[in-house]
């Protein structure tokens, strides 16, 4: 099978080669080198996993995996279902209908993205706790005294964890889907409407299929975030596969066993991604070529009292994903105002901003390089390498960080040994335990975000654009720079903001790789909260949410202006 396929592709490639300009050896090698660096942590983990004896497996298979696979799958399905419904429905609502506060809500719906899952989990633990505001109100209303007098849903379950994760992760689906509804869906929808289809039918039969790649892309990010989460799952006592990775490593002293589980998880994710890609390969033509109409088709105006139903409904996900965490941490921070003036907080903020900015720039550059090489070379091997490069997102941050730590330390120590032997002085650890290692780890971890949004931006461009530029005498690189880059501006901006925000929220890899005295906002919260008192890190937690909020809002505004200008 594989051989036949490769022979075919070789054949067709040859045919293409005849008319194509020569390959780009420099770009290609650069792309391979970069992919190699991006894959370093995974390669290191493969070595660790292979060095294991497999002695953990009888225990894992018998007592751990059945349960943790079940809760991981349940968690993933619930989160996918919730984020899918909320993300798609809210995107459709703000694009297709007109109602009070529509514009405001359409940017506010992105806000939960600013809240890290581990903070959201803590906030919900407090919010719904017996001593929290909700149960307090229930007791006051009904005159209950103790916890045994009434039933109250428990957030500390797989279902509860899924709810919390969905509350902060649905913006991925909302963002990717809304763009498609705005840019591509409407005109097709209008055609269908003029042919007599009801709005409901249009949504199910026309728009949903058109938006499918975008929904899938959003859900893929959601699911990878769900898999790699350890903060929320651990806090709520849900034993997912990622939790099993950590207990195997830390409690049974088997890093090898932990790495083995992590790699199997990664393989599953990879299969899922490839399958999704493969299924939608045939659908690209429907979605890709639609031209954008310059007419503004009217939104369906809802009249009467009913028009208030929409904003009230849309407010719910915003309150769940953003309002509750803001309330809880805002309340704690208000009792500890002095924390805001601690120099450590300012330093952490600065470090976070610098790390996130550098990471965003680097990730965008790497994604652009890889995608352009794929575009120019079109080799299957290259495509596979690039796809593989973005898989790190599904790894738990601490495990990815460990893989990178091993690679960097090996690199540093090799150089040091060489310089010592040759020139007689020591270079020490150049990268290990430096902020550069942190930037590198975050870049590797979040390259999927940059790659995903830029790729979907490229897919939306008309196919002949590049050819046109080149037929006018531009080299491929020139055409990339002068034609593609400006057109990709919204996609690049999205990529940069997604990476920036996730880097501000990143905790596990940063805490492992950072140098002495180097705190980001996230590690600052953790240092203060690791005794189980996140109140002590409330100011920093609030700062994370606010810091992440700013670019999210800027992006949302920029995209909306772009998209609405097109219509």
């Amino acid at each position: 099978m594989g051989q036949v396929a490769s022979v075919n592709s070789m054949g067709s490639r040859k045919a293409v080669d005849a008319v194509r300009p020569p390959r780009h050896p420099l770009l290609r090698s650069a792309a391979l080198l970069v992919s190699g660096i991006v894959l370093l942590p995974i390669i290191a983990l493969v070595f660790v996993a292979l060095s294991g004896t497999g002695e953990d497996w009888p225990h894992l298979v018998q007592n751990v995996l059945p349960g943790s696979i079940r809760s991981t799958l349940l968690l993933m399905s619930l989160v996918a279902a919730m984020t899918g419904v909320v993300g798609v429905a809210s995107a459709w609502a703000v694009v297709a209908y007109d109602f009070p506060f529509r514009k405001t809500l359409s940017w506010m719906l992105v806000l939960p993205f600013a809240v890290p899952p581990y903070l959201a989990a803590y906030a919900y633990g407090e919010f719904l706790h017996f001593h929290g505001p909700v149960q307090g109100m229930v007791r006051a209303l009904f005159g209950f005294q103790t916890i045994r007098d009434y039933w109250f849903p428990d957030i500390r379950t797989t279902q509860g964890t899924a709810f919390v994760l969905a509350a902060v992760l649905y913006p991925y689906v909302y963002m990717t889907t809304r763009v498609v509804f705005l840019m591509q869906g409407r005109n097709i929808a209008d055609v269908a409407r003029t042919l007599g289809a009801s709005p409901r039918r249009v949504f199910w039969r026309v728009l949903l299929p058109v938006a499918r790649p975008a929904i899938a892309a959003g859900l893929a990010l959601v699911l990878m975030e769900t898999i790699n989460d350890v903060g929320a799952a651990e806090y709520f006592g849900v034993r997912t596969l990622t939790v099993a990775v950590y207990t195997t490593w830390l409690n049974r002293n088997s890093l090898e066993g932990g790495a083995q589980i992590a790699l199997i998880m990664l393989l599953l994710v990879f299969v899922l991604l490839v399958a999704e890609q493969w299924v939608r390969r045939r659908q690209r033509y429907h979605a890709g070529r639609s031209t954008q109409m310059k007419v503004h088709p009217p939104r369906v105006r809802i009249v009467g009292l009913k028009r208030w139903a929409m904003p009230v409904t849309l407010l719910l996900p915003i309150l769940c994903g953003f309002g509750v965490p803001l309330l809880i941490f805002g309340q704690y921070a208000s009792r500890r105002m002095d924390q805001f003036f601690a120099p450590a907080l300012g330093k952490a903020l600065l470090n976070s901003l610098m790390t996130a900015t550098l990471t965003a720039l680097l990730a965008v550059a790497v994604a652009l390089l890889l995608l352009n090489v794929v575009r120019l070379c079109r080799g299957r091997g290259m495509i596979a390498v690039v796809r593989l490069a973005s898989i790190g997102y599904a790894l738990p941050g601490g495990i990815l960080g460990l893989g990178l730590l091993f690679s960097l330390a090996r690199f540093d120590n090799t150089i040091d040994a060489f310089i010592r032997a040759t020139f007689g002085f020591s270079t020490g650890l150049l990268l290990t335990g430096s902020a550069a290692a942190v930037v590198l780890a975050c870049t590797i971890r979040f390259i999927a975000l940059a790659e995903g949004s830029i790729r979907s931006g490229m897919e939306k461009l008309p196919a002949g654009l590049d050819d046109a530029a080149r037929s006018l005498g531009r080299t491929p690189v020139q055409s990339a720079l002068s034609v593609l880059l400006p057109l990709l501006r919204p996609a690049i901006l999205t990529a940069a903001v997604l990476v920036f925000v996730d880097t501000v929220k990143e905790l596990s890899a940063t805490i492992l790789l950072r140098p002495f005295g180097f705190n980001t906002l996230a590690t600052h919260v953790y240092e203060n909260a690791s005794r189980g008192v996140p109140q002590d890190g409330a100011a920093a937690a609030l700062t994370i949410i606010l810091t992440a909020m700013v670019p999210v809002l800027l992006l949302s505004g920029a995209l909306m202006r772009d998209a609405e200008a097109h219509l």
């Binding site: 103790t146 049974r252 330390a409 290990t432 492992l512």
Partner: protein
């Protein structure tokens, strides 16, 4: 101390982008699993006395792996951590070096240090029972009692896979053997009021809420809760419970330690030794006891008033190395019994 000056863009790029190996004279580099706030008072006292600056790197996991990966170039001088298993694991993974030091050997009781000098216990904490002041009349309890059906639906605890619980279960295995411990753990599971989650403090909160009558927790959390001036809720939790010292058949209570070790390639070895000696000194022991509500390891030194009010601790004399030995077995037992699934399954 960590400089508090806000650094600009340039400083970030130069000072942080490339690893600055803090090798300068008069510094000691600490890799720690202990929260920086907890060790800050002691470290400040150290700097005040010796003039040696401390650089602290806090990690939540992978401390040993990081030192191993860094190899000979590792800047780590001293490792500080809680839990005996982490100390022995550091020794087993080869990231510590033996330190034979007369001063330390004189000051620290033999049971709280590695015979080969690879780690030193500097504080201890007991794993006790938090009992509801309102609903529990018992004034004494044994660890075995926790499996007694009379507590059915009344016990709260954090995850059985947490270090502190694993150490307790390992101690049980050393006292009772694996088979009896597993039966006991099944009984404990059946007595749980809810699925284990959160930390030790929220278990006290659960008692205050009426969710359970007793919980398993460390002593110092009670001190921290009762003296929490910033959060009235925690104070309430701390005051809703009594501390009972559960015992094994020998009448003694399980204790764990926090400790320090000399890192394998310590570049500032002399300063590192000075720090470890300081941690064992009377002055540091007092700071630990007062600021953190831990028990000093120094014989004869009293704990803080808050902790004294719990009653008298009679610490188990079981060799700490035994506890570490059974950790993996205990962890597997927790999975096998399904302790973390809670009472229902």
């Amino acid at each position: 101390m960590i400089s508090t000056k806000t650094s600009g863009l340039g400083a970030f790029a130069l000072a942080a982008l490339f690893a600055t190996s803090a090798l300068a004279d008069g510094t000691v580099n600490i890799y720690t699993y202990r929260q920086p706030d907890l060790i800050k008072p002691v470290l400040e006292a150290f700097t005040a006395e010796t003039g040696i600056q401390t650089e602290v790197l806090f990690l939540d996991k992978g401390l040993e792996e990081r030192i191993l990966a860094e190899g000979e170039n590792s800047p780590a001088d001293v490792i500080m951590t809680v839990d005996i298993s982490r100390l022995t694991s550091a020794k087993e993974k080869g990231v510590t070096q033996p330190l034979i030091d007369e001063k330390l050997n004189a000051e620290l009781p033999a049971e709280y240090r590695d015979p080969e000098g690879n780690w030193f216990g500097v504080t201890k904490r007991a794993r006790v029972v938090y009992a509801s002041k309102d609903r529990v009349q018992d004034t004494a309890i044994t660890y075995a009692d926790l499996a007694d059906p009379k507590w059915k639906g009344k016990i709260c605890m954090r995850s059985g896979q947490h270090d502190y619980n694993l150490a307790l279960f390992s101690a049980a295995i050393s006292h009772w053997g694996a088979e009896k411990t597993e039966e006991w753990m099944k009984g404990l599971k059946a007595n749980l009021a809810k699925k284990p989650d959160g930390g030790d403090r929220p278990q006290a909160g659960a008692i205050a809420a009426g969710e359970c009558d007793i919980a398993i927790g460390n002593t110092y959390y009670v001190g921290l809760m009762r003296n929490n001036e910033k959060d009235p809720k925690e104070k309430e939790w701390g005051n809703a419970i009594n501390v009972l010292f559960p015992t094994f058949e020998n009448g003694l209570t399980h204790v764990n330690i926090s400790g320090a070790a000399l890192a394998k390639h310590a570049p500032n070895r002399d300063n590192a030794v000075k720090l470890i000696e300081f941690l064992a000194s009377h002055k540091a022991q007092q700071v630990y006891a007062e600021a953190n509500y831990e028990y000093p390891v120094e014989p004869g030194l009293e704990p803080s008033e808050t902790v004294k009010a719990f009653g008298k601790l009679k610490a188990d004399t079981l060799p700490l190395a035994d506890i570490a030995k059974y950790r993996k077995q205990a962890s597997e037992m927790v999975d096998r019994v399904g302790l973390d699934d809670g009472p229902s399954s």
